[in-house]
Assembly symmetry: D2
Homo-oligomer: 283 residues x 4
């Protein structure tokens, strides 16, 4: 059984030795270790993948043992995942289909190891794509008046389907703290600019107006401040005076879908950790 | 003789035909033509390189003829340059040497076809590098009190040496309108961020704080609004959580010098046109 | 009516003036012109987009006029296309679905302005995807013994559906001259390496073995020599010692689909010209 | 005192635990750890940076202790470096100056922490640049007849100055096994192509001929087979039909100098390990 351990704690001497010694003593073979120290903040981060020969029954024992002997003494926050646990991913969309298609085709070919309990949208336009992939589609229109009610329904759906994380695949509604608080660092958004440049609405128009020579896309965890959450992945492409806003949008589509899928993949593979509104990505 | 023609004017039908017909009729062979129409603004841009067999003496005749028959009827702003005209480039620096070295080594090897009448600095640190390349070095310290006087001396030096354009190779002083007005779209700056992100001071620190995954550098013409002039060239490089601010700075140095030299080269080869605070780059 | 003109001919003085003058005289407004001279080969290339107010009925007249007055005197090879002509694109696939999904989702959203008369495969695996998009799917298995017969059926299908060009979206069979001769510079392949490095089979394995730090993908027109046709588009991504061959393949999928779609788009928009086994891309 | 430990050995369970436990027990604080397992080859690689409070006098004791208790039982090949040890770097050049300038300006500004005992060339062209930086310059012409003798002089110079590693900064002579055997994985070359594409002479001409859309540069350790040694760093830039071979060469210069300096920096910081003609880069 392959086990992934994510740890962060106040930095001090001896952590790596203690953790790796513990795993080794319990018969684990460490196949991957990555660590990082944020010197400024004095925080230690580690990600380990280990192979254990033991049964699943022994997992709970390892958990308690690790908590008592290692995690507590070092004041660790930690998570342990096992191979075979497929996270449940809900997708929120509006009208653009490129990110949705990209996620679903990766899902369909087995590249993205998740379950997709449903796709939700404030519009009906993309229902047929859900149908192409035999996935449930919920149409929840959102107006100023119905926003609260729509959120309640969203929360109910998310709870009912035991959703682990949410992907906003060009969902053009603001997600409020009612949802964010339930899914902290578990909502992944794609913003169609190279953040922090051009946060907010119409970033391609703003980029065109400014005359930049490179445009970008940014995937980040959603926090209450708009477009200001921890960045997971970014990428860019060149543009020139000969490109219109429409060209920016077309070039941007390719960026958006690749960057969003990359971020989702990192999240699914437990390669992201969040601290101080920044990410540690053990890619 | 190779001639470069830069034109912009209100867009209308028939401009290309008129210009190319005129050149052809005067014995010019067009070896390169690039054009662009800003549909929104209704402005037409063109850059032509043509070979003429004629003598230099005929240049003035061509000029007058073109002005009367083509430029005036189409309300053109236009410039004509001849091969062999080496522009005079002044370099302003402070304490960082990487951009200066990059420019001077290109100059020294003949890659950058300019004359460098002098290097000017508000510090004395880089005097020895000017010495390495046998170039005059002026040390003009700038304090709040001496700013006006320093500018006057700068303007005098620029006039005396008939400088065509100025390169701010990490010059850490604000250039005011007194200088800018004399050198409109003729002062090239390098800013160490991917503008418009992180304009102003300490962009690498700000980028580190925000947790971006890509950093950049931007070369632009200097206008009165700080870091807001027409962008000539940009480039980026990836960073990760494992990089410190010091690493950002080190990686950024390579970006800065390459991007600045690229922008300078485009300017020297008359491949840039400015309109509405944006550039058309006929690269 | 928007008209696109593609021209190449032996280089000489006066071509641009003659072509643009001709179009202007017939009431055409040139909205885009790009030209290139291959100095070594002495060949002139030009692409023009012009708006004509005339009826479609006048197209034939323009054609004959242009042929007689311009094309023949300058020994041009030329093509003229009109907005609204959607080319018919056949897709050949084998077992990998990422390129197919990418093309079909662009087609479905209207981003790719083509008709797709059918998808053809030597395997049955991707039939369901054709079904997802309501497109005909032909399963034509190919063995050494049935190759000739399969090609005959392919040619029959291509003729029957009046196919304009073919996209090999990871089609794992060699296309022979029987097909190529009928579709010269009209078969677009994606090769999963940075050609000319790693031509032939298993390029990701070869790249891994060599220890490269960057992998790539190349889209090119198919010619008789394997993986040696004119290159339309290339892109790359970084890899490191920590990536396995499986990682190369996963990263490569993103490259392949983006590069292939980019090349197809360039072809569809008539932005490619082929000469001396190279392409001129007026992007 | 900051200590860097580079280790590789046959993979087995418990190595990380053993090494980190050993360092921790001797009072070392591990500030950086990166490891890699080549699953195919069954080889384990690790790089550790640790801070010790102890005196330099205790280094030898640590060495012997580590060798006996850890390295020998695990059959490790290992190296230990201490902060403050500046490696001695010889530079070989021919006629191109861009890589030389880039290295020397980094050296001069303290970015590159090496000593440069001398610059050696088979031509006299770049002597003045050595002079600009006050560095010894040896002119050793090489002809077919004098090759052996030149190599003997080179070896003598390298020995006399206790050179640690050699940088071939566009040195246009083949370095034979006489030199390579004395400096295994200690000679860094820059090849002006995206290897393995266009190995050998005139890569830019070959790239132009093939019509590629991207060109590259590769820095690698020199082995007996030409341009086939372990790759340290690569980078690429886009080109188009509008670029001549001369343009390729100009664009390539920027790539070459950046890629070579990046590889040299990685080597100097002990971030490279070589195995099976490939590198592990702990960047």
């Amino acid at each position: 059984m392959r086990t992934t351990l994510l740890i962060h704690c106040p930095d001090q001497s001896g952590i790596i030795s203690a953790v790796t010694g513990h795993i080794h003593a319990r018969g684990g073979n460490i196949v991957y270790l990555d660590q990082h120290v944020d010197m400024q903040a004095g925080v230690f981060f580690m990600r380990l993948e280990s192979d254990f020969e033991g049964e699943h029954s022994s997992v709970q024992a390892f958990r308690e043992d690790f908590e008592n002997r290692i995690a507590r003494p070092y004041a660790m926050e930690w998570h342990m995942f096992h191979s075979g646990q497929k996270p449940k991913m809900a997708i929120f969309v509006s009208r653009y289909n490129h990110c949705l298609y990209d996620l679903l085709s990766r899902y369909h070919s087995g590249e993205l190891e998740v379950e997709i309990p449903f796709i939700l949208s404030n519009h009906n336009d993309l229902r047929s794509i859900a149908g192409q992939f035999d996935l449930p589609f919920y149409h929840l229109p959102v107006t100023k008046d119905t926003k609260q009610e729509a959120e309640s329904r969203q929360l109910a759906l998310l709870a009912e389907h035991q959703v682990d994380f949410i992907v906003l695949a060009r969902y053009m509604q603001i997600v409020t703290s009612r949802i964010i608080d339930v899914f902290p660092n578990k909502i992944i958004n794609i913003h169609h600019s190279f953040l922090p440049a051009f946060a907010g609405a119409k970033p391609y128009h703003a980029a065109f107006e400014r005359g930049v020579k490179i445009i970008g896309a940014t995937s980040h965890y959603v926090t209450e401040e708009l477009d200001a959450g921890p960045i997971i992945a970014q990428d860019v492409t060149t543009v020139s005076h000969s490109h219109t806003v429409k060209d920016f949008i077309a070039k941007g589509r390719d960026l958006e879908k690749i960057v969003l899928s990359r971020a989702v993949q990192l999240h699914v593979k437990r390669k992201t950790m969040v601290y101080n509104n920044k990410t540690v990505i053990f890619a």
